[in-house]
């Protein structure tokens, strides 16, 4: 272990394609964020680059966070165990305490600590994933053999999910559920439990939609937004109009009309619509392609970890792949009207500093795993340690 801490002295570069895709998404995201938010910023704050400046600050924090992750051996997180869950639960409980959480648009998602606002569901998601990957490794036998092995992590997931729904944060719950099921699925959970689980989730979703009417409205709104384009279908129709206006080649950078107060949340959850409007089909296909590449490279790292029998790292990387893949899939799908509207950002692109920082930290963690993998392949010594342990 002590040797692992000095591993950062290694001068090796992480996966080039991954790094390139991340930089393109990040820099392109900043450009598009500026384009999408400039009018809103101008009219509400008087500073056209208000959102850009704040996002740039988050990029700096994210870079620092990622650098820190690069220096911490991934085994550290594996050994942290259940304490990660406790931290996550603590954050999610604190935010619900009156006076501590900050409520925006009816959702109590932000924790204000020393003047810094943090959306707690973002770090919670990473913490849960770090624990879950470890659980899948530690309890693999139980997971494969017994129903307790499967339902214990699902219980943790349910508790965390309930806490998230108290905010409420339906989007974060969905991603967390997808990540949990994904990791457990890959780690070998029994199929019948998944089927039971999926049925339970569908039932829960149906109950939830029926229980909170605004949710139901969103669900029905997305199915036929043109039935009520001025109320429940408003945001979605505006998004579809933006995308459709883009045609094949788009209106050109900065020329979106929908961002001029027609499309709500144009700089956050609906930034994809603005990209599609300004760059057309070419732009939207490029964005989808970039995220597909991102997920593909992460899956490659996960596979490599598995080949090296670094199962914790494999599950962790795979979890991050599902996380980013599902989140971008849902976000873009919401923009295009194939999913009901949720409060989910487009990773690395949308305005949303907690999301950006945590995503960059997760990517830092991935690159650490990748570097460790490469060292294991070339160095051999470490790999031998791992192999012998097996």
């Amino acid at each position: 272990m002590s040797r692992a801490y000095s591993a950062s002295s290694d001068t090796r570069m992480p996966d080039g394609t991954l790094l390139f895709v991340c930089i393109v998404l990040l820099c392109g995201g900043l450009v598009m964020l500026t384009s999408a938010s400039i009018s809103l910023a101008e009219s509400s704050t008087g500073q056209p680059f208000y959102y850009l400046q704040r996002q740039m600050l988050a990029v700096l924090v994210g870079l620092m966070g990622g650098a820190v992750m690069l220096r911490i051996p991934s085994e550290f997180w594996e050994s942290a165990g259940l304490s990660l869950v406790f931290i996550a639960a603590l954050l999610l409980i604190i935010v619900l305490l009156p006076g501590l959480g900050r409520t925006v648009n009816g959702a109590t998602r932000w924790l204000s600590i020393a003047g810094i606002n943090m959306q707690v569901s973002e770090p919670a998601r990473l913490l849960i994933l770090m624990w879950l990957a470890g659980y899948a490794v530690r309890q693999q036998a139980e997971l494969l053999a017994t129903w307790q092995g499967f339902f214990k992590p699902m219980l943790v997931m349910a508790i965390i999910g309930l806490l998230l729904l108290q905010q409420p944060d339906f989007g974060a719950t969905t991603v967390l559920l997808a990540v949990t099921l994904g990791v457990l699925f890959v780690a070998g959970g029994r199929l019948k439990y998944f089927i039971v689980c999926c049925l339970a989730v569908v039932a829960a979703l149906a109950a939830l939609a029926a229980y909170s009417p605004y949710r139901l409205k969103r669900v029905t709104g997305f199915l036929d937004p043109w039935a009520d384009p001025f109320d429940s279908g408003f945001q979605l129709t505006q998004s579809l109009i933006a995308i459709g206006s883009g045609d094949v080649f788009g209106l050109g950078l900065g020329n979106s009309v929908q961002k001029l107060f027609y499309l709500p949340e144009a700089h956050t959850d609906f930034i994809f619509a603005v990209i599609a409007e300004e760059f057309g089909l070419v732009g939207s296909l490029l964005v989808i392609l970039l995220f597909a590449t991102l997920v593909w490279r992460i899956v490659v790292i996960a596979r490599q970890s598995a080949v090296l029998n670094r199962m914790y790292q494999a599950y962790l990387a795979f979890g991050i792949a599902i996380w980013l893949g599902v989140q971008s899939l849902i976000n873009i799908g919401v923009n295009m009207g194939v999913f009901p509207t949720k409060g989910l950002t487009l990773p690395l692109v949308s305005y949303g500093r907690s999301s950006l920082i945590i995503t960059m930290i997760a990517l830092g963690l991935l690159m650490r795993i990748d570097l460790e993998n490469q060292r294991a392949i070339n160095g051999g010594s470490k790999r031998k340690t791992r192999r012998s342990a097996r």
Binding site: I241, A302, A314, L329
Partner: protein, 589 residues
Amino acid sequence: MRKTVKKQSPKRKPVKRSSIVNEDQPGFNGRAYFAVFCLALGATGLFARAVYLQVVDEAFLERQADARHIRSAKLSAHRGTITDRNGEVLAVSTPVDSIWVNPSVLVAAPEQILALAKLLDVSSASLNEKVSRSSARQFLWLKRHMNPSDAARIIDAGIVGVYSQREYRRYYPAGEVIGHLLGFTNIDDDGQEGLELAFDHKLAGKSGSKKVLKDRLGRTVEDVESVRAPVHGQNVVTSIDLRMQYFAYRALQSAVNEHRAKSGSAVVIDVNTGEVLAMVNQPSYNPNNRSSFSASNYRNRAITDIFEPGSALKPLIVAAALESGKYRENSYIETSPGQVKIGAKTIGDKRNFGRINLQTVLQKSSNVGAVKIAMSMDSEYLWATLQRFGLGQSTASGFPGESAGQLNHHANWRDITQATVAYGYGLSVTPLQLAQAYAVLGAKGLQYPVSLLKIERDPIARRIVKPDTADSILSMMESVVQTGGTGTQAAIAGYRIAGKTGTSRKAAKGGYAENRYAAVFAGLAPASKPRLAIVVVVDEPNAGEYYGGAVAAPVFSSIASGSLRILAVAPDNVQGTKREALRLAEAGR
């Protein structure tokens, strides 16, 4: 950690068969590929959806976009200017800005209403009420026709949902002096009265429109295309000479005030073209501020109101007599014993004038003489002659609400009708009609169509009477103004004047009122070579005097002297000037 890994290896084998875990790559196996496959499927779905939205459904979505973004904006056209014959501006449209709001936006921001109220200098409570009452609407005028710099101050305050619209407001620099003739426009700059209405088709611009791209707050982002360019209104040049108009206005106003008359009108016509050079009325109003005046003040009485001309009609009767050939300039009429009985009615003169010639009939305004002349003529002939002078016919000036006067058809005439027509009763005219009829006498018997617009080409004249007849009447009428006539107060220094007084009792319920008169003077100046036909009517003078010669003739005198000077007409009575001045001084004018 390692312990866990170790523990798990012996247990792996029994489970292996029931799951699809690949032994060679524990944890990363078919399931992982299946998950990745699902994500890839999702990405493919998004690909397909993007193609659908941006290629297949693109036309529909773009239509929806245009329906939301593209608005048509009005390009105001300004209304033509009205000027007098010398280019003096009488009516002009000046740019103003009107402030409107989107109540549904504004109502959501109470503190904005407060700021707006402060800017508009109204109470925030009343503004708040006004806005909330229309909260469901998208448009509400807040204040119209503001000084553009004041409007800019409000727009610059940057209150959401507050906009300005360029409009034009009509200003009338000459105000009440020419208000009746010009009329006015409404707040949307459409002609409502007078020349503004008559020539609205020419004056009114056609506002254009353009397509603009607007953001959701209603601010214009860019002009997409100009759909229709605005067509600005054409200018209208009236026949009025503003200097004469001022002169006439002042003279009439002081007379109406002096005699405490109910109303009054004066018309000045260019004898040789038919152009109206001045047209004034009392009481008047200020077209720039119409808030406090009653509708009756808006009437252009010189064109819309009729009166019985009384003795002022006699020159036309005499003209008809000369034309008929039955009379010559030196024909004599027996008026003894100073009265004549027609049917049951006795018509009398002030005194017995005895045997008098035609000139004296006019000079002394003998009713008996006029009646005898009229009765000697065929009624159809008399009627036709009067009609040719324009009586009972619209002058076709085009002025809205013009009255044609009243001249009953000869078939309906009885003897008494024919007799009363001789001294100007039983028929009625507008001041403009009378002026037109007199203009014929000043233009050697030719009639030019009345025009309220400056005419560019020589008008086509119509012969009404022989030149000799007109000249004869003219010289007869000169005697009216000379010593011994009824209209001596119409005389002016340096010029010869021909005219006729008229004093008519006003018709009332069941006959004629005892003490309500219309005082008239109609005449031509200068008599040697007439340039102007002037008619003055003062309605119901109430300060003792009521004769046309005492009330209307002085007004005629000051209008004529001022107008002739403005036109720089050479005096035609230089020798008489001194004598006349002395006479006027004696008369105590």
